[in-house]
């Protein structure tokens, strides 16, 4: 029907749903094989992020920091960066260092590009020239972690993708996944692998954020397993196309299009739900020329089978609030509508220009309240307003107290989920991810709304 767009009527943010730019850049860099994010800023800027990533992934998160102190504010961060790069390279020998700026370094006017250039020279003279050093601008006040991720991917592409003259034309597809969980990235890889499509994930946190435990094979210093190699990124300029799953992460795809004429698909529905996944597979097929094979259609059929079983019977018309990453919220809104449920409110926490129209385009006959740049308080007030009749919340662990206070079930997805386990390693994308979401949603509905009339569960 339509969306009603509301803007938060407060200056104060109460329980934000996003964090600042650097985290997104760290995320991107940690998707590089033997990549290390180096935060050019205060220690909190790395430590807080490490803490938050660690509690979500329950994995070691190794992020370096150049440790700004008062003196840095006075003399600038050049020395900190010099020492940091040398220390890191000497001790850890990473394949890549992403130099991630912060509010501090940006406000004091650090010229990280210049610093890095001069450093590269110095390091080369010292014999350390194996490590790519990529400056990434992420002034915290300039956007959310989604924007920081976008900047980082773009910086990686700009700095690494080499002209395709020397690269043989290949069938490679690039995927910019956005801030997806390992389970989601794995599911995308599963779909591409099923079609035998070669791809480069820009970048690939699927194993670095979800590494197997195997002490005997664990080297030091610690690096998570996997990740996209620097070489892979260097070679992307001859690819058949780039798909950016997240609209907030399209800059790199556009850069690659402009500089290397690689076709870019950046405005699709994410591969969440049936339509979104259909669209994704068709795009992959179109770009790569590889067929969509039957096993994927079987997965599709199995998901539809479950949807048929549960949608009219348990879910129809139930009112849902969804908040979080704009891409995931858009995709889940589509999936939830495919289930015959009613999405009553969505919010993303960040200001995403196309979000309201994206929601509108999938809203069908529903009237959806869209809160631009919401915070958790917006979600809480909406859910606690009984007139809204909210029956289910889809969101991160941030909503745990709303769930605790109201008893309205919370189906967890996205980042962060720290009060339950396993969520980061399971998908919500693809047909199988959709099936998992349908299972979670239905089982929460059954537990909450059917258990009290238990006889209805007997068949």
């Amino acid at each position: 029907m339509s969306v009603n767009v509301y803007k938060r009527d407060r200056q104060v943010t109460i329980d934000p749903l996003v964090t600042c730019m650097p985290l997104g850049a760290m995320w991107a860099v940690l998707g590089i094989n033997h990549g290390v994010p180096l935060v050019q800023g205060s220690q909190g800027c790395s430590t807080f992020a490490r803490y938050h990533l660690a509690r979500h992934f329950r994995e070691p998160i190794e992020i370096a920091v150049s440790s700004f102190h008062e003196s840095t504010a006075v003399f600038g961060g050049k020395k900190n960066l010099n020492i940091s790069l040398k220390t890191l390279i000497q001790r850890q020998n990473p394949e890549l260092i992403g130099v991630i700026t912060t509010c501090s370094s940006e406000i004091i006017g650090d010229d990280v590009y210049g610093f890095v250039d001069s450093n590269k020279q110095e390091l080369k003279e010292l014999g350390y020239d194996n490590t790519e050093i990529i400056p990434i601008n992420t002034p915290s006040f300039a956007g959310s972690h989604f924007a920081g991720y976008d900047n980082a991917i773009d910086a990686l592409i700009k700095n690494l993708a080499t002209p395709n003259e020397n690269i043989e034309d290949d069938n490679n597809i690039n995927i910019i996944p956005g801030l997806l969980n390992p389970g989601d990235v794995n599911e995308i890889k599963h779909m591409l692998d099923s079609m035998f499509v070669p791809y480069t994930m820009l970048t690939d946190i699927s194993e670095t954020f979800d590494s197997p435990l195997n002490p005997k094979k664990q080297g030091t210093p610690y690096f998570g397993k996997g990740g996209t190699t620097v070489n892979d990124i260097k070679n992307i300029s001859a690819s058949k196309g780039t798909i950016s799953i997240a609209k907030y992460a399209k800059t790199g795809a556009e850069t690659l299009k402009q500089t290397h004429k690689v076709p870019a698909v950046t405005d699709n529905l994410p591969p969440i739900g049936i339509k979104g996944t259909d669209e994704f597979l068709k795009t992959v097929n179109k770009l790569s020329g590889y067929d969509i094979i039957d096993t994927l259609m079987t997965e599709r059929g199995l998901t539809l089978d479950l949807m048929a079983d549960v949608s009219a019977r348990y879910l129809a018309g139930r009112k849902v609030v969804i908040f979080g990453d704009p891409t995931l919220v858009t995709g889940l809104t589509s999936l939830v509508i495919e289930l015959g449920m009613e999405v009553v409110m969505v919010t993303t926490g960040s200001e995403e220009k196309t979000f309201p129209t994206d929601i509108e385009s999938i809203s069908k006959n529903q009237s959806i309240d869209v809160f631009s740049e919401g915070d958790l308080k917006v979600v809480e007030d909406y859910v606690k307003d009984k007139d809204n009749g909210v029956e289910l919340i889809l969101g991160s662990s941030e909503a745990r107290f709303i769930n605790y206070d109201t008893g309205i079930p919370l189906v967890r997805f996205g980042f962060p989920v720290y009060d339950r386990v396993g969520y980061h390693s399971q998908p919500i994308v693809g047909y199988r991810g959709a099936k998992r979401v349908v299972e979670m949603v239905t089982n929460e509905v059954l537990a909450k709304y059917y258990e009290e009339k238990h006889w209805k569960l007997q068949q």
């Binding site: 600042c20 938050h52 001790r91 406000i107 107290f401």
Partner: protein, 467 residues
């Protein structure tokens, strides 16, 4: 040669002075500490905002905690600590929202324009709006950050103005992340600000001869409630808490305590000193980790207040309850090698108890941000050959694991999962696993967690081939 340069540190030899191997009784060797970290060395330290809002003010139950910053600083300090609070207020009323400190954070979410043109206008609006949203909040605490420090927003002035406008305390805490070398600076700044701005500004509804103030006890996973139980049962009255499960008002009348007890001596001795100096209230450094320290300190308080018998009753009751079980755990755990890496003082609080009462072998201790006095205590409380590390980094942790092969690591969440990857059990000692860890029952909880971690069957399953 009591200092040791780790293999991984050969390119950063300045680390040698931070790592010390206890040798005989050489008292003179100082450990380099409370100094700037080497950039890029993968430190585990945080910033002043973490030390201020994260550690201290975030525990207070009835205040609006507003971070004046881009969204990240607020995001990262939202409800992350295990600081439960009860809604009961000292005036007998109930605060309308349970665990308000965990549930809500407030921030100015500064954008580019605010950075260019200044953020004070937005700060004022944010303060007014927050207060409107939760008018029952007792006060508003505003933390400045790197950004607002660097752009020069006069947060003190705004808070002063707002205090008048709103008729309630609006307190500035100047905690830019780059202040000092670690979160320790944030503790100090916050101690000073609370003292300067609040202590002595209110009077308690009533006082008794047994009034005490628990300083540096943040109620991690319910620690404070354990101590409160013991102290109350022996006849003492907790007049103020700084700052676990505390209300704003309590901070304002800390000067009326008869005796201040300093629990976390790294983060909160400052304010005890200031109160003693200005108001003449004496303080005692206390240690309630383990049964023996608990016995000792309760007895000390009994003597101080003439409540010796009452103290004995409490000791007998609660120590008695755990004695047998602890003995069993000691039998199970004897000889297991442990590395303690705490934020601050837990490395010296726990070393003797873990050895004496649980039979563990402390092979290394470390701290993120201790100062020299803390390291002296660490040194005094560990046996010959123990490694003591200041501000160790991830790579040193790995080297220590592979070289010294501890059976267990007590550390934070960032180190926990790294230890796991090398097959070493680890317990979160900052925020605990199944706490509380203080007092008699707390020490038993810790023993259980240690036992369960070391004995988790998963560690025997690492190797596919060995089956």
């Amino acid at each position: 040669m009591p200092h040791k340069l780790f293999e991984i540190d050969k390119e950063i030899p300045e680390r040698e002075k931070h790592i010390y191997i206890k040798h005989c009784s050489d008292e003179d060797n100082e450990i380099d500490c409370n100094k700037s970290t080497i950039p890029g060395c993968m430190t585990e330290r945080g910033c002043a905002l973490a030390g201020g809002r994260g550690v201290i003010t975030g525990a207070i139950k009835d205040v609006i905690g507003l971070v004046h910053s881009p969204v990240g600083c607020q995001y990262y300090t939202t409800g992350v600590k295990r600081y439960p609070s009860k809604p009961q207020l000292p005036n007998g009323k109930t605060f309308p929202i349970d665990n308000f400190n965990l549930k809500y954070s407030f921030g100015t979410d500064l954008k580019e324009a605010n950075v260019v043109f200044g953020g004070t206008k937005k700060l004022k609006e944010a303060i007014i709006e927050s207060n409107k949203e939760y008018p029952f909040a007792s006060a508003i605490y505003v933390n400045s950050t790197c950004t607002t420090g660097l752009i020069g927003d006069d947060v003190d002035a705004v808070c002063k103005e707002m205090t008048e406008e709103l008729g309630k305390d609006v307190v500035a805490f100047n905690t830019p992340g780059f202040s000092g070398v670690s979160q320790s600076k944030g503790h100090h700044i916050t101690n000073d600000a609370v003292f300067d701005r609040l202590v002595g500004t209110k009077e308690p509804p009533k006082t008794t001869g047994y009034d005490i103030c628990l300083i540096g006890e943040y109620n991690i996973d319910g620690d404070l409630w354990v101590l409160e139980k013991y102290l109350t049962e022996m006849g003492l009255n907790i007049l103020s808490r700084f700052s676990g499960d505390a209300s704003h008002d309590e901070l304002c009348w800390m000067h009326r305590s008869k005796l201040n007890l300093v629990r976390c001596q790294r983060s909160a001795t400052y304010i005890a000193d200031l109160i003693e100096e200005k108001y003449g209230v004496p303080y005692k450094k206390v240690d309630f980790f383990s049964t023996e320290y608990c016995d000792d300190n309760l007895r000390m308080l009994g003597r101080y207040f003439g409540l010796e018998e009452e103290a004995e009753v409490v000791i007998e009751k609660y120590h008695g309850e755990v004695k047998e079980e602890l003995k069993w755990y000691k039998e199970q755990l004897s000889g297991k090698k442990v590395y303690i890496f705490s934020g601050g003082p837990k490395s010296w609080h726990l070393s003797i108890p873990l050895e004496k009462e649980l039979g563990l072998d402390i092979i290394a201790v470390a701290s993120q941000f201790e100062h020299l006095d803390g390291y002296d205590k660490m040194k005094a409380r560990v046996k010959e050959g123990t490694t003591i590390l200041d501000d160790p980094n991830s790579l040193e942790l790995e080297e220590l694991i592979l070289t010294n092969k501890p059976d267990l690591i007590l550390a934070g969440i960032k180190e926990k999962y790294l230890a796991y990857k090398h097959g070493i059990p680890a317990i979160q000692i900052h925020s605990y696993e199944n706490g509380p860890y203080i007092g008699y029952e707390g020490f038993l909880n810790l023993a259980k967690d240690i036992y369960n971690n070391i004995n988790a069957p998963v560690w025997e399953l690492m190797d596919f081939e060995s089956e």
